[in-house]
């Protein structure tokens, strides 16, 4: 790890001043569960770390059944799981969080960090740059080992998958993210927050180097049914092969509105309007859920070694819909 300066501001105004104008200057430090490994491996080498854990206003979960929720960026994954309203009203988020099956990570990792964590692409993590390229500029992923890479949204330069399990659930819930920066406060739909970079110096999300995620706003969901289905090989700590989060608004057994978002299949969380269209207006059954799964992967394109993920994505969508319709409990 390179030597770095460490700052621990107590307000977001101070924090933003300490952040730099380029990504190489400073990094935000939350739980550190991702950032520190990146630094130890010399993948990210900030000159300054801005620890945000002392900024009180970035913590806490607040809200009512009517107003929805405000989740501070510093809320840990475990705090999400422990919050009394979550399990009942936001099943998809709880199930996504449960998939992060390491108590240590859940206790340290924050929701802001989960959304802003960097891709797990092994070429990126081995020092071949965000997009995984050889010195010649030749991309490594298409001809390399891409078993865990993208099957959707993979026609550009970015072939990694977005690593966040919480993001698809939050996007399915139509969450918004509040950002504070040198130019003040702004708010974006979380769905619009993630981007697929076209060069290795870009980030995978809509943040400037001097901006912070401060909170996540989740609309009320009390009357919707939601679920996340994660395909993960191991019970023990393991990355998902794919996840699907769904939020269904139902009349009886008929779906009136749906939001379906896949995780770990594309460089960004992947909202599938095709799957949504396939299930809206239908009664939920094995057959309609299966059809929605099929629709979700209609445009999927396998790389050389990840064709199996198309099947997994299809099943994840099907099972998430069935799970949600059942009331979100397995």
């Amino acid at each position: 790890m390179n030597a770095f300066e460490y700052a621990s501001p107590t307000t977001k105004e101070q924090a933003v001043k300490l952040l730099g104008n380029s990504w190489t200057e400073a990094e935000v430090l939350a739980g550190g569960t991702d950032l520190l490994s990146l630094m130890k491996d010399h993948i990210v080498e900030p000159k300054r770390l801005v620890n945000i854990k002392s900024i009180k206003e970035l913590g806490g979960i607040a809200g009512t059944a009517k107003s929805g929720l405000r989740i501070g960026a510093l809320v840990t994954i475990q705090e999400l799981l422990d919050h009394p309203r979550m399990r009942k009203e936001y099943a998809a988020l709880v199930q996504a969080a449960e998939g992060i099956s390491s108590p240590q990570i859940r206790n340290m990792g924050t929701i802001g960090g989960d959304l802003c964590q960097r891709p797990r692409c092994w070429y990126y993590r081995a020092g071949f740059g965000l997009l995984g390229t050889q010195e010649s500029g030749e991309p490594l992923v298409p001809n390399g080992d891409n078993r865990y890479h993208a099957i959707l949204g993979n026609s550009g330069a970015a072939l990694f998958v977005n690593p966040s399990s919480l993001a698809p659930a939050l996007i399915a819930m139509n969450a918004r993210v509040k950002i504070y920066g040198a130019k003040g406060q702004r708010e974006v739909a979380l769905e619009k927050f993630f981007t697929a970079p076209t060069t290795g110096s870009q980030r995978e999300y809509d943040l400037q180097p001097n901006e912070l995620v401060t909170e996540i706003i989740v609309p009320p969901l009390a009357r919707a049914k939601s679920a996340t289905y994660e395909v993960r090989q191991k019970e023990a700590l393991d990355w998902p092969l794919t996840t699907a989060s769904v939020v269904l608004t139902m009349t009886g057994n008929t779906v009136k509105a749906a939001r379906i978002v896949l995780g770990h299949v594309a460089p960004t969380p992947w909202r599938s309007t095709e799957a949504e269209a396939a299930i809206v207006g239908k009664a939920v059954s094995e057959a309609t859920a299966e059809a929605a799964g099929k629709a979700a992967v209609e445009k999927a394109k396998a790389l050389s070694k990840n064709g199996y993920k198309i099947q997994l994505a299809k099943v994840a969508v099907k099972r998430a819909i069935l799970l949600a319709a059942k009331g979100g409990t397995r």
């Binding site: 797990r120 019970e235 990355w239």
Partner: protein, 710 residues
């Protein structure tokens, strides 16, 4: 003269019982110090610069920036200009500094110029191996063409398993330091007595000046028999730094890249039988790799001696970190290929594989009756009769259940071992031996043998091991430790007892030969009224302790070799996701006379757990373009957690037919079958063979695809 045999069953007071390990408390409380835990006074931290290329020549090395860095105490070039690097991660320069970050900075400041050379780091396809492939073994037995002509049903298949690593929890490494011109090495090793001789040459000092110590080790599995280049480098750095201790333990990525692997194995198999299941012929063309030294040639067909055989093996010498012995070298590979082919043929014959194997019992060698007993017992425990079904679980829904079986063998006779048994006049007893406890319970076993022989409680025996100043005992490999150390200790204890009988006899008015040790006393056989306590008897030694040397090999039937075991697995496969879960594995195993039933079973549990890992998850993924290992971390080099292991049931065969064989090792045999047995259970569940390990969703789904949809 003592008669060197094990006590009869009714006379055993400790041997064969379930006894908790003596070092359990220090381990769970964290008091046990592994060598990687050591923090010696003034200790420096070493790091090794490693090659980023899989195959290259070193053109130049410039260490000047590192040498000038404050805090850097010594720099040592391990492989210099002109050296040909043959795997990514190969050692180049070692540095010792005041702390780890400085050492890390220093190796990053070293400039090395490489000339890149073409590399090969994959091995699944023999065609692309080109010049790096060498036929190493071709053999025939009987007339395989005639055998296939006689066959009424023939199966052909291709099977394969990738390179995996040992993944020791405690990485490879050492703390080395000099005391004048004597070298003290705290090494994580499986061979305490054998290290000095191996280090003497590179260190250019007499082996007698090298002291090796190790109290506990965090895993070796065959990968820790010698000092590594980084250990020698550590000793050289220490010398340059005025003798200060230097600690070099591998980082996890290096551990996974360069500290040993199990070679891959792929085989094209043809196997034939008559309609009634009688096996007639075997043909295999296999290949494998494990770094620059290629691969061994697994013994195909495994255990089952099919009458007519033709076998060819090709070894690929490729550019990945070299292989090392991995728990039962060559056997897991041979077992997976053979058991898969047998099961596939049974399916083609429409036979229950259990019946099929029993039908061919005559081919199972000298222990065929043991195998038959073990098969029946395992079948009962897994519920074979009730749960086994012909290939393909027909119950509706995506979760399919299946059963599989496998069997295996191993040698495991005792290695050379010297034991000093020291008895003090106050009755204290100490066993001294230059052996090591690999975490398997060696200390406990030594105490059990001495205590049972001397009729003392376990606590009365002090165990001193893990130091090469004690009498030499073999490295812990090939499952040879328990046979060797129990035999030498039994001989030492029996001889020591004779000495005590001699001293005690006059007081008891008896001949030494009339005495026995029983319940902490020395008494005239069968007459408790004529006895001395152990302490009273030892007091007759006068002022001086006695030291009795016991040896293995030696007289009497205390150890032999050759064991067998059967495993059966019950699995559930989600055919929509390709995810395999273990419901249960049953292991029935023999290993001669058992010294400690609890820790013997514990070895089998450990082997099954390790087996679930490589059957379902483990694979060293190398990237042909960059030559690098892509998953040199614990995120993507996957190991099972507790929730992945399923229910394990272990049954050890004991009593008549087993105990008379003497003590035989157990570490390796149960580690052979898990890949085969889980793969067979999966084939039974889903109706098609997944030809490759590990059984990951991509492989399972691809196999289902070939079957024609799900």
């Amino acid at each position: 003269m003592a008669e060197y045999k094990w006590p009869d069953a009714d006379k055993r007071t400790q041997i064969g019982k379930r006894i908790a390990r003596l070092d359990g408390a220090v381990k769970v409380s964290g008091k046990a110090k592994y060598n990687s835990d050591l923090n010696r006074p003034g200790m420096l931290h070493g790091k090794v610069l490693r090659s980023p290329h899989a195959h290259a020549k070193i053109i130049s090395i410039d260490t000047s920036a590192a040498e000038q860095m404050p805090g850097v105490k010594a720099v040592h070039i391990i492989n210099g200009v002109g050296f040909e690097i043959r795997w990514a991660g190969e050692n180049i320069v070692a540095v010792a500094a005041l702390d780890e970050p400085t050492a890390e900075d220093a190796i990053r400041a070293i400039k090395v110029q490489y000339e890149k050379l073409p590399h090969l780091v994959v091995d699944h396809d023999l065609k692309i191996a080109g010049e790096w492939a060498t036929p190493t073994n071709e053999s025939k037995k009987g007339d395989y063409e005639k055998g296939f002509a006689e066959a009424e049903v023939i199966h052909e298949g291709v099977y394969g398993m990738p390179v995996i690593t040992h993944c020791c929890l405690e990485p490879h490494g050492s703390v080395t330091e000099w005391e004048d011109d004597n070298l003290l090495v705290h090494l994580s090793t499986q061979a305490v007595s054998g290290i000095a001789a191996q280090m003497a040459t590179p260190m250019e000092i007499p082996a007698g000046k090298i002291r090796v110590k190790q109290d506990h080790i965090g895993g070796g599995f065959g990968s820790k028999f010698g000092p590594d280049a980084w250990d020698v480098a550590g000793a050289k750095l220490s010398k340059k730094a005025g003798g200060k201790p230097v600690r070099i333990f591998l980082e996890r990525d290096a551990e996974l890249m360069v500290a040993g692997t199990r070679p891959s194995h792929y085989a094209k198999v043809k196997i034939g039988a008559k309609k009634d299941g009688t096996l007639t012929a075997w043909q295999s063309e296999s290949w494998g790799s494990g770094g620059p030294n290629g691969s061994g040639s697994p013994p195909l067909p495994y255990v089952i001696d099919i009458p007519n055989q033709s076998r060819k093996h090709v070894s690929i010498a490729n550019h990945v970190g070299p292989s090392r012995a991995w728990r039962a070298p060559n056997h897991p590979q041979a077992c997976f290929v053979t058991m898969s082919a047998l099961e596939d043929l049974a399916a083609k014959l429409n036979m229950d594989p259990l019946e099929f194997v029993l039908k061919n019992k005559a081919l199972l060698g000298t222990r065929k009756d043991n195998y038959a007993d073990e098969l029946m017992l395992a079948a009962e425990k897994i519920g074979w009769k009730k749960t086994w079904h012909p290939r393909g679980d027909k119950t509706p829904g995506p979760i399919k259940r299946g059963l599989g079986l496998s069997f295996h063998t191993w040698g495991g006779g005792g290695h050379a071992s010297d034991c000093d048994l020291v008895i003090q006049p106050d009755g204290s007893v100490e066993v001294r031996m230059g052996t090591q406890d690999l975490g398997v319970g060696t200390r406990t076993a030594l105490a059990i043998v001495a205590a049972d022989t001397l009729a003392l409680p376990l606590e009365a025996i002090k165990i001193s091991i893990g130091d090469n100043r004690f009498p030499a005992s073999g490295g812990s490999g090939g499952s040879t430790t328990i046979g060797g150390i129990s035999a030498s200790t039994r001989r030492a204890s029996l001889d020591a007892l004779d000495k005590i009988f001699e001293k005690a006899a006059p007081t008891l008015n008896a001949q030494p030969a009339e005495l026995e040790a029983i319940g902490g006393k020395i008494q005239v056989k069968g007459d408790a009224s004529r006895s001395l306590t152990w302490a009273q008897a030892c007091a007759k030694l006068g002022a001086m302790p006695i030291t009795v040397r016991g040896k293995n090999p030696g007289p009497g039937p205390l150890t032999s070799q050759g064991v067998g075991g059967v495993q059966m697995a019950d699995v559930a496969v989600d055919i929509e996701t390709g995810i395999v879960k273990i419901n249960k594995i049953v292991a029935v195993q023999d290993c001669g006379l058992i010294i400690n039933l609890k820790l013997t079973e514990s070895q089998v549990y450990g082997a099954l757990i390790m087996g679930v890992c490589w059957a379902l998850y483990e694979e060293k993924i190398n990237d042909q373009t960059t030559g690098k290992t892509l998953n040199a971390n614990m995120e993507f080099y996957k190991l099972a957690g507790i929730g992945d292991i399923g229910q394990l049931e272990v049954h050890m065969m004991t009593g008549k037919g087993y105990d008379e064989r003497g003590v035989i090792g157990i570490g390796e045999p149960p580690a052979v079958s898990p890949g085969a047995v889980i793969s067979n259970a999966v084939a039974n569940a889903i109706g098609v063979r997944v030809p490759g390990l590990p059984l990951t969703p991509d492989r399972v789904l691809a196999a289902l695809e070939t079957k024609g949809g799900r």
